[in-house]
Symmetry: C2
Subunit: 80 residues, 2 copies
């Protein structure tokens, strides 16, 4: 099974990378673009275990390695 | 309109961040997890322009600022 994990900063946490992109865009006259948020996307395969166990493993790795639960939230999707 | 842009390394480009995650996972006995690829997700609003113009602007900013077309590919989705 292949999973996609989106890791984003929680609402209210200052997104400095997003602000930098906004500044860069404004400098290039893309004034219509606002509220830029930058996060990470992680795609991974989980093989040789049941679907429930695979999902559990992905949840676990999000907590211990992929996301910082203090400032980030994650979303797990199964992909084809 | 809000758009989500996924920026990933092209197939065949060595993903050192993904390899680092794999090593970290192996050290923690998550042996079932393989083929980790790490990319970026950028979410942004485009306001005050038509839908076609908004999409065009997002395409343009992908090319000039968000992705490196030599080694990265991008995917644009409209989100709610």
């Amino acid at each position: 099974m292949r999973y996609q994990v989106l890791v984003r900063l929680k609402e209210g946490v200052l997104d400095v990378q997003g602000k930098a992109v906004e500044t860069g865009l404004r400098d290039q006259k893309f004034d219509a673009i606002k509220n830029v948020r930058v996060g990470r996307v992680i795609e991974l395969d989980v093989d040789g275990v049941s679907k429930d166990a695979a999902r559990k493993q992905v949840e676990d790795v999000c907590k211990i390695l992929l996301a910082n639960p203090v400032i980030e939230q994650y979303e797990i999707k199964e992909v084809l």
